[in-house]
Point group: C2
Chain length 280, copies 2
């Protein structure tokens, strides 16, 4: 098995740093799909088929599967398996967070040895008690986590930008994240299994956070529908196009709501990959 | 239908402020139960039966159900229904957090009109974008949320206690939480549908946070196994024993691992209720 940082770096270099966000709201599916768990499954598998040759990863968003109760969770695991078999890195976007034995239960739920999921997003408000159990499973099972550092939304600053001494809360957290990863580096890259979520919508912060977290893989949401550009996300990369993947959801998966939705998603992912490449 | 703050206040005054944390790790169930979804269901229903006459609420912890995949989520919804039918307030402990349409999906998943769940715990790192969609569903469906403010774990201070100006991050957040709830008060109490999680293990902070959040219901974890005492939690209450519920999990649900586990759980819940009453 391969360390998560090595695996995702190799995949991003071989294909592109594009990560397709699977946010399948049952009421928003394209023409011809049913507004239920079966429709969500068909939609996700279609998007995976259409983008697997260009994207390095998919990021299923747990909320949309939980919305359909346990039937949705069944589909969640099925589409994670499907993506894994298609050679994609699978990042479960759950922003999970808890402490001690409960945090360990989340880690065992998503990052167990046989899980099709390669990495999970994690929310940091609880401090290292909410992160350490995840890192233990990452080490054991070659998995990864992405800790929310500076998110892409308008109100992210309410807590994340609070000034604390000479730095903002998210800058302080960034240094913690880098330190948490130091003992967990890959074999072929100087990057750790402890990554960071940093939004494309704050390019200045992204540039500075890259210096504060030299060992963290960046998962960069906010490209496309949220307004982030390829120029903006370029600040998240290290030399040689390493160190970051860029997530987009709506601009790819809903590129068309007509019968050509698969084809349109594939084209949108390809265009995004070219856009990032051109601006790198 | 009744506003969440009115409903939980009435239940706590009629029975006790005890909230039973359902943290059913399949490998830790008492004698005679199978280490799978069926065992977890039997265990949770047994604990509910044993404590429903004394506790006002149960708090199933989603991590332990997610640990069992979709079969676990099926049991999660079944035991929420079961608890609701037994007259308990049901608080799903998921610490969910996301933004915009994704946050709305979480809100619709757990706080929809026909959901047996009365309230959900929410993690605040994303700011108000991660809270507003929940509050909208609370208003519409008479539900509640509990936002993490100061958690009970050792490392909670790493982010929550960072100094920002004259106050700590969690104190700043506390004021936001109170303000978020101001337009969403109950009819019989001056408390809102936007509650706060404040750990029993930091009694001084608990006392001060009570003054910063006069309109917030407190969900207080950390009593019992984590070290919080009845004296500690007393600081979280308002006059007349209102405004707070106290959660305990291990000290109740694992009071005995032998065949008398149900009886032992009932006794532990009763003892806890008496302990809190005596120190109020």
């Amino acid at each position: 098995m391969t360390h998560f940082a090595d695996a995702i770096t190799a995949a991003a270099l071989a294909k592109s740093p594009v990560c397709v966000g699977l946010d399948p709201h049952p009421d928003k599916l394209p023409e011809g799909l049913s507004a239920d768990a079966a429709g969500v499954k068909e939609f996700c598998e279609g998007i995976i088929d259409a983008t697997a040759s260009v994207a390095c990863a998919v990021k299923p968003q747990l909320a949309y599967f939980e919305l359909l109760g346990w039937e949705g969770m069944k589909v969640f695991w099925e589409i994670c398996d499907y993506a894994k078999k298609k050679g994609l890195i699978v990042i479960a976007d759950g922003k999970r967070n808890d402490i001690g034995p409960t945090c360990a239960a989340y880690a065992d739920a998503y990052l167990h040895e046989l899980s099709p999921i390669d990495a999970l997003t994690v929310s940091p408000y609880l401090g290292s008690d909410g992160v350490t159990p995840f890192i233990e499973r990452c080490d054991k099972n070659n998995k990864g986590i992405f800790v929310l550092v500076k998110t892409s939304n308008d109100s992210s600053g309410e807590l994340q930008d609070l000034p604390t001494g000479d730095e903002a809360v998210h800058e302080h957290l960034a240094q913690l994240v880098d330190s948490w990863g130091l003992a967990h580096l890959g074999k072929t890259v100087d990057l750790s299994s402890v990554g960071a979520v940093v939004g494309a919508t704050y390019p200045e912060e992204l540039k500075y956070l890259r210096t504060l977290m030299p060992h963290a893989l960046f998962l960069i949401p906010g490209y496309g529908a949220q307004g982030g550009t390829a120029k903006d996300v370029s600040h998240g990369f290290l030399e040689g196009g390493k160190g970051a993947i860029v997530a987009a959801s709506r601009s790819i998966i809903y590129a068309s709501k007509g019968k050509d939705w698969k084809e349109a998603a594939g084209k949108a992912a390809t265009k995004m990959a070219e856009d990032i490449e051109k601006n790198s």
